[in-house]
Amino acid sequence: MARRMLLSGNEAIVYGALDAGCRFYAGYPITPSSEIMHLMAKEMPRVGGVFIQAEDELAAINMVIGASWGGLKSMTATSGPGLSLMQEGIGYAVMTETPLVIVDVMRTGPATGQATKPAQGDLMQARWGRHGDQYLVVLAAQDPQEAYDLVIEAFNIAEELRTPVILLIDEFIGHGREVVVVGKDVVIKNRRLPPPSGEWMPFDSEDPRQASPMPLLGKGYYVLVTGSTHNEYGYRDVHSFETHYRLVKRIKEKIIGNLDKMPKPIVLGKPDDAETAIVCFGSVCRSAREAFYKLRERGFRMVFVRLRTLWPLDYDHLSRILDNVEAVIVPELSLGQLIHDVREAVDTSTRVIGVNKVGGGLPIYPSEIIKVVKEACRK
């Protein structure tokens, strides 16, 4: 039953996760994500789930992995420094096809940086922070409502594709409080279990876009889970090219081949007609959208693209939208990361202009984006 609540993004994450069926939380406190932990600490025991404060982030992510194999929908939340420490574990989850959700409430980095201030500088890390060929899903919400919605999506994708999903929000969203509608009739996807008997493969599937069913421990499947290269039954095979290539290609394909399962970008305006585009993600979209509307009112021919799935990224789709524009404005609360994607999607002759601002807890204001668009159009 839908209810309106006044929630911070961090609180919305907790309610969303619990609504999605999350029953295990392990974490380590860190600003500005701690309120997720605080509310989980309060709510999880009440629903009979498990909450544990780990000794560090390495422990947290690995406990989550263990609990996920134990059969519970599991998550953790952290911020940049914690995410850095979790990288090895995340890569293990990719390799072992372990469903789990990680919420990263982004703060101003690098290093300790400005711990209480928002930023969007973990985008590339979320995609690429681990060694080796690994692909996972990265989503980003723009406000508490979407944090609630997307954390449910994150669990659904995680369970359906047996993959870790990273949900990015930032301090603005995490600490900002807004009206959130919770408990809507959302689709909850539960884990696909293997047949009780008969042939099946825990680590392969005919269709590389489908994850194989995930066995439950303690049921006599004699599961072999390993972060080493393994064959379809989980047996380590650290020599063969074929086994490795098949495995990593399949895991990649499972992610990039399922673009249709991921939250779609929101596109405003008419691509065909546009001279200028704004491409953005996360909290910045709110200023950017205001700028877009104002500019359109003033006669600027524009298209606005708000990405909600940052990995896998549909470069082709983006290319098509941006095909005709002369300039793309990419506002980011960082020195520029999404801008690399945009450049990848457009020709070298298209001007790609970053609006980059980070630090001090300042947002990018609509006026700042408007100014850049105007300048870009003058040329």
């Binding site: 406990m63 992995i65 263990g66 996920s68 303690g218 072999l224 047996y235």
Partner: protein
């Protein structure tokens, strides 16, 4: 008369044998002792057991050899993964088997905190005195003065006496056996699955690496076993000796055996409080 079936094989994945361990590697002896414990406990198969290991030779014991659910984790992370498994599935016996490097070097923090929490796990640490898998480097357990490939002039560091230190934590059960103490080791395994069934139960198995310790001493695996039998003395006796009387003796025995509620029971009580109020 055809070859009778070795009693250990009931608990092994047939298709994985022979193991990839070096000839003579003591890991197999630990497996025999563990399996004999299971057999004597009347355990038909290991479907109620989950084995969790790290990275290292000893971490291969469960993965892939033991026929049971097993999670072969990252280097050093067996204990947190095992914790996650146990907390999500309290009805399963969760057993960690890993090396001294894995558990006490890179994984030292988790070991410490799991012991503090008296987390309901059985942890078996194979102390082979070096990093076997990566070719014989210094481990935190390597004795002073021993030459390894990363201490070519003789280890200048103090070794970590893991079982002794854990004896001072909140763990329920802590013991050390040498691989030559087959019967005691087997009985110790039975103890942690039958008599003390909760809390953190830690068994260190002293089992020098054949390739990077024993062979370098120009000893055969069998000779070394016999040497070890001579060197093991009960820990009470060992600690009553003065430092200079201890020589090359190895203290074996049970440092601690209690039956306090483990983390899980405390957490259950906690949940009850949450649900009530």
């Amino acid at each position: 008369m055809s070859m009778p079936i070795h009693p250990s094989r009931r608990y092994l994945r047939e298709e994985t044998l022979p193991t990839a361990f070096c000839p003579g590697c003591y890991n197999g002896i630990v497996m025999n002792a563990l399996f004999q414990a299971f057999k004597e406990m009347g355990v038909e198969d290991l479907r109620d057991y989950v084995f969790v290991s790290g990275i290292g030779c000893s971490s291969w014991i469960p993965s892939p050899y033991i026929k049971a659910d097993s999670i072969h984790t990252l280097h050093g992370r067996a204990i947190p993964v095992a914790t996650g498994v146990k907390l999500s599935r309290p009805e399963l016996n969760v057993v960690v088997i890993a090396g001294d490097g894995d558990l006490a070097s890179i994984g030292g923090n988790h070991l410490l905190h799991a012991a503090r929490r008296n987390m309901d796990l059985v942890v078996v640490m194979i102390n082979n005195l070096v990093y076997g898998m990566t070719r014989g480097q210094l481990a935190p357990t390597t004795p002073r003065g021993m030459k390894t490939i990363t201490t070519p002039y003789g280890n200048p560091e103090n070794p970590f006496d893991v079982a002794r230190l854990l004896g001072y934590t909140e763990a329920n059960y802590v013991a050390r056996w040498c691989v030559c103490n087959y019967i005691q080791l087997k009985n110790s395994f039975k103890e942690v699955f039958t008599r003390i069934k909760r809390g953190f139960r830690f068994i260190e198995v002293y089992a020098p690496c054949i390739t990077y310790v024993v062979r370098r001493e120009k000893k055969s695996p069998g000779e070394k076993l016999k040497e070890l039998m001579r060197r093991c003395i009960p820990l009470k006796k060992y600690y009553s000796l003065l430092d200079n009387e201890r020589g090359d003796k190895i203290p074996i025995g049970v440092y601690k055996a209690e039956d306090k509620p483990g983390f899980l029971e405390n957490y259950r009580a906690y949940i009850r409080k949450a649900m009530e109020g």
